[in-house]
């Protein structure tokens, strides 16, 4: 008598799903990672001091004549813009860039993060800071500029203390300063977490930098996902999707779910077999 061993073919993985997954790996391969590196002029510029801490005791005066210890007022992710107020050069485009990104970044200024503009010219006074603040506040829409964007002036000792701790090298020539353009992001406990170079800032880069600075302590879950998927590319000076990390995680996730599916369903199959008997 012929008795064929009968077997049901398993429809565990849908073919279309498989094709979709495999083709998504393909697409990930198309994302750019690095771009051209830029060179710094010798002596001047920014010598990044990532993961260093701002020292306590740096005294500055804000636009409302309050003298503060900078470290003490950093209680949330803080973005520093280092400029001088009478600057005829790149400071104005930089501050306009800041005003624009405050509007577009979809972050709440004053609660999720704050911006400190600090003058590195010891001759400038709070009155000037106040005027500048009023000017630039007009460029920002729908954000709490009054509490979230503070403008500081200070004496030369404190200024050089701040510049040194940021690795920010400037040089005075006549009445003007030669200086780099960058935003510096500091975490709530005073750690330098990111430099965003240039005078124009992408809302996404600012958001990522603030998420990084908050170190996962605040913000919605999506921020943690973003932080996992994107990493800072120092050569390209922007946040890029870390596709090797993402695709690696995807592959492992798929494999684990395959194994889990097989083990769980295998158990069901065995139960069924017993029932059949």
């Amino acid at each position: 008598m012929k008795a064929r061993v009968s077997v049901t073919h398993v429809k565990f993985i849908n073919l279309r799903f498989l094709v979709l997954v495999l083709s998504s790996f393909t697409l990930i391969g198309f994302l750019p990672q690095n771009s051209f590196a830029e060179e710094k002029p010798a002596g001047l510029g920014i010598y990044e001091k990532l993961n260093d801490y701002l020292p306590a005791g740096l005294q500055f005066i804000d636009e409302n004549y309050n003298q503060v210890d900078l470290k003490a007022v950093i209680d949330k992710p803080t973005v520093f813009a280092l400029v001088y107020y009478e600057c005829p050069g790149i400071c104005s485009p930089l501050l306009e860039g800041v005003a624009e990104v405050i509007t577009t970044a979809k972050l709440n200024l004053g609660t999720e993060y704050q911006v400190f503009t600090v003058s590195f010219d010891p001759d400038e006074k709070p009155k000037l800071a106040k005027d500048k603040k009023t000017n630039y506040a007009r460029l920002v829409k729908n954000q709490d500029v009054e509490h979230g964007w503070r403008w500081f002036t200070g004496d030369s000792a404190n200024i050089s203390g701040l510049l040194n701790s940021f690795g920010f090298k400037v040089k005075k020539e006549g009445q003007e300063f030669i200086h780099p353009a960058s935003l510096i992001v500091v975490s709530p406990d005073g750690k330098i977490t990111r430099y965003l170079h240039g005078t124009y800032f992408l809302p996404f880069d600012l958001k990522m930098a603030v998420i990084e600075a908050s170190e996962g302590r605040s913000g919605p879950t999506i921020n943690k996902v973003l932080k996992y998927c994107f990493s800072y590319d120092p050569a390209g000076k922007k946040y890029v999707m870390n596709f090797t990390k993402i695709s690696g995680s995807l592959i492992i996730l798929l494999a684990v779910s395959l194994l889990a599916g097989l083990l769980i369903k295998n158990r069901n199959r065995n139960k069924n077999l017993i029932n059949v008997k």
């Binding site: 008795a3 061993v5 073919h9 398993v10 993985i13 090797t244 592959i251 494999a255």
Partner: protein, 532 residues
Amino acid sequence: MSLSIARPISFYDTKKGLFSWIFSTDHKRIGLLYFYSIGIFFLAAVALGVLMRLELIAPGKTIMEAKTYNQVFTLHGVIMIFLFLIPSVPAVFGNFFLPIMIGTDDVAFPKINLMSWWMYVVGGLFALSTLVVGDGPADTGWTFYAPYSVRTGTNVTLAVLAAFILGFSSILTGLNFIVTIHRLRAPKMRWFQMPLFSWALYATAWIQVLATPIIGITLLMIVVERVFGLGLFDPSLGGDPILYQHLFWIYSHPAVYIMVLPAMGLISEMLPTFARRTIFGYKAIAFSSLAIAFIGYFVWGHHMFTSGMSGPSRVVFSILTFLVAVPSAIKVFNWVATLYKGSILIKTPLLFSLAFIFQFLIGGLTGLVIGALASDIHVHDTYFVVGHFHYVMFGGAGFAFFGALHYWFPKMFGRMYREKIAQTAFTFMFIGINLLYFPMFILGIMGMPRRYYDYLPEFTSLNVVSTIGSWILVTGIIIMVANLIRSARNGEKAPENPWGGTTLEWQTASPPPQHNFDTEPVISDTGPYDHS
């Protein structure tokens, strides 16, 4: 008590015609489709290898230009790795025998299985098309190292796409085997009653599924960089060539185990049969397969000791490399212990298995020489490395493949091969391979670099020995192929179980019927290798 008076209808007889083969979803037919296509590619790559050895018989230009030589060794490597070694054992013997050995009638996804063969064919055609299209085959070596692979004018894009498509074929086969082993084992067969070949395929399949997507992405990145000029690996575009090496070896080292693990599974099948003894240390062999697959993921850095890696990373990768030798050695000890006090039947499959152990030992131990930091600096990129991997890959995986081909030949083709001729072929091959590759160790230690068509005069005599070895090896291969072709046509009809094997494939007709078993196979409670 075989009462088969009339020979049962085999899977060959159920359908006829070309279409019944190339669109078949029967695992046995797909296994044979793979066998024929892999066989053709293997012979082509052997021919390229012989040409390379001929070029190296004397210093200076002998039969080809430097660039041609570069293209020949690239094509030889690409075909041997991606078209022969990676698919060979799983796709041929895995497809044909895995379902039979675990007592089922097919793999879990027969259509995907057919698709994987078609992808293999398309990938193979892509690789071959580099011969005739544009500026000829790639000249980068099978590793496609960036930035050269990004800049060379040869057909890298096509070759890389070929490897990419072949990768998908490999993933699909692996996925199929994982699900088959989990879900379709005969109801009474528990995990530790599976034959060890299934364990080896299972471990291999996880590597195929997990590691192959990485090479897919990496190779696509090369294509993107070449076609769109995005800076990924080429430093002049802002890319990172070391990143390429990492990504490449994260796949390609585990891929070495895709090649050798199933071969080890074959040895674990053949030795108990011809020693008439149960395998020694069944569980140790099964778990060492998983251990090799697992540790194999973390050793890729040992390919990059000389290409810019921090000291601590090198030490860690070196230690891990030594660690992978432990499960490999466990297997070797168990095989030798299986032979001890067995009633040994000397047949060709056993000879190939013994040669495997001998050559795998040499290949494995020289692997430790290059896994150790200090000695690797000395022999890196020399013929020592070429000798090492040919011993492991050809002397190991290749010989296991040929052994299994003889072992299962009666089952696959329903006829016996001619034993004496087969043993003659084996003798030629065994002498040839050792003559061909052993001098490479000495040449490497003397400092002869790999991948050049020329060398210093003091290396001549050993190169001549090596080239002569290649002729002897090829003579053996020709005798073997001729013997098998002739035997498949008019060899003696094979009985159900010519070797006295104990696994399930020996409980069905030779060749098997369409659904593998006409009567339900008996699964032994005492494990798959009970010879008592």
